[in-house]
Amino acid sequence: MSEQTAWEIARLETGIPGFDQVSNGGLPKNRTSVVAGTAGSGKTVLALQFLMSGVRNYDEGGVFVTFEESPEDLIYNVKSFGWDLDGLLRRKKIAVVDATPDPGEINVEAGSFDLTALLARIENGVREVNAKRVILDAIGALFPQFTDSSTVRRELHRIAAGLRKLGVTTLITMERLDEEGGVGRFGVEEFVADNVIILRNRLDQEKRRRTIEILKFRGCMHQKGEYTFTVDASEGISILPLSAIELKQSSSDKRVSSGVEELDRMCSGGMYRDSIILVSGATGTGKTLTVTHYVKAAIEAGERALLFGSEESREQLTRNARSWGVDFEGAEKAGLLRIVCRYPEIMGLEDHLLQMRRDIGDFKPSRIAVDSMSAFELAGSRRSFREFVIGLTSHIKHLEITGLITNTTPMLMGGESITETHISTITDTIILLRYVELHGEMRRGLAILKMRGTQHEKDIREYVIDGTGMHIREPFRGIHGILTGTPTYMFSRERDNLSDMFSAGPRPTI
């Protein structure tokens, strides 16, 4: 982040979640910014949220100038966000300037004119509610009302200058025809191009992906590139500033138990409190069991745990835990555990991330488990999955709590998955659970692949699962290549082994 220098333009905090981070502090104060985007990209919502947030969070009045949708329609449309425009209009917090053309009205142009009346009406609104924020929604709709678009351009320029004198920060929305290319239609960017924000709504592998990009803020620093955002009913727009996340979390020496005694010993005393642990293994290797142990350890320590299930329902998870002697229901009643189960497919990954962050904010757990992370792979494109994983894990790290996430590998023996490749660098500990085929029998092996900041055991240990949970036993000896899935045996008594193998007596072959 840049230091605020004396000559840098002052900012107005918008209060739109994430926007002030990606813009390094908000919109340029007392200036006009343009929000451009294709139909349905969320321009009007963003603009209205800018006004609503001004009233709610900063007690700043707002004027709302609409060129396309009638005020009645707008008031009705944003009710779903819980925005009571009607009430704010009555309480003189927000003023509306209706600049929509009347259908069927005949306009004749007979001589030269200017748009001083519009400016005067906006000024009147600003005075009425003591506004600090003004939005002009869909100025593209102004152009067809007049024959000469150059007059409209010139007049908009004058209006922008007039608004600046009033000391208000203005947001203008403008429609684009394409996601790429020029900023807007009618050559508008030529006159109000100081500050441009672009909203995009692309189809990315059958999923809608909304992004916001600050193209330029003249004289101001801001984050570059596109940031994903979501639009939902409770908050409106939330921007997820992924690359704005800073790697500045402190690190703790405090250790917490994984819930498996022997595993703690293998890690020289347990997991670090503020670490991300990845448990990776094929189906049936005991990932959910590891999660159960981990949650149990939290409950026993009197700490709160939040478990996100993405493959099994709450009832299934509870039943499984019960079969290993862990009482999830009791822990939930005691307020130490919350289980949140959502199928990955029900919404986009951005929405999942937002919801999960909200759940974490509500419950304030000291441990989080996600079982499984890899189930989310299919709910979005590779890129949005990566952003989801990084967004969640960095949030967990930021809160300095413990996160355990599981990953299902596609192959029974060895192999790696997208989740592993995406998050192995941001996880602190990786635990591999693998099937090991030994003399025609399926056994299970556990290895700690890495653990940051501490010594750990390098052996691949055998473990068994019974009615009381996971039990880690001795290391496998004399076997190579367990992790690759093609083990080879190196027995000291090779000759004995061979004779054993054929003791049944092979039929002689010629």
Binding site: V108, E109, A110, G111, A117, A120
Partner: protein, 97 residues
């Protein structure tokens, strides 16, 4: 038939003055004795501009006879003004006779 007209101007700008002069001339020659004109200065009376949804100034609004019509500009294009006020037809008939 009485024409009820409302002219929106902004102070004493050249546009406003020209519109006032042009309207006066047209009313006297074309609508003598059958017009009422109300002059609204938007800077002083923005609320009325809100009601009539005025964006441009000067704007002449024909309130009566209905339907409501708006004539935008300083009214220097006399033909367009007459067309907009819909008094062109009678005028046209007179000149063609």
């Amino acid at each position: 038939m009485t024409y009820r007209l409302r002219l929106f101007i902004t102070g004493r700008t050249p546009h406003s003055i020209r519109a006032l002069e042009n309207l006066q001339e047209i009313c006297e020659t074309e609508l003598s004795g059958r017009y009422e004109v109300e002059i609204i200065d938007v800077l002083e009376n923005p609320a009325i501009a809100n009601v009539d949804k005025i964006l441009a100034t000067p704007t002449l609004v024909r309130k009566l006879p209905e339907p409501v019509r708006k004539i935008i500009g300083d009214l220097s294009d006399r033909e367009k003004v007459l067309l907009g006020l819909d008094i062109y037809n009678s005028d046209f008939e007179r000149t063609s006779n």
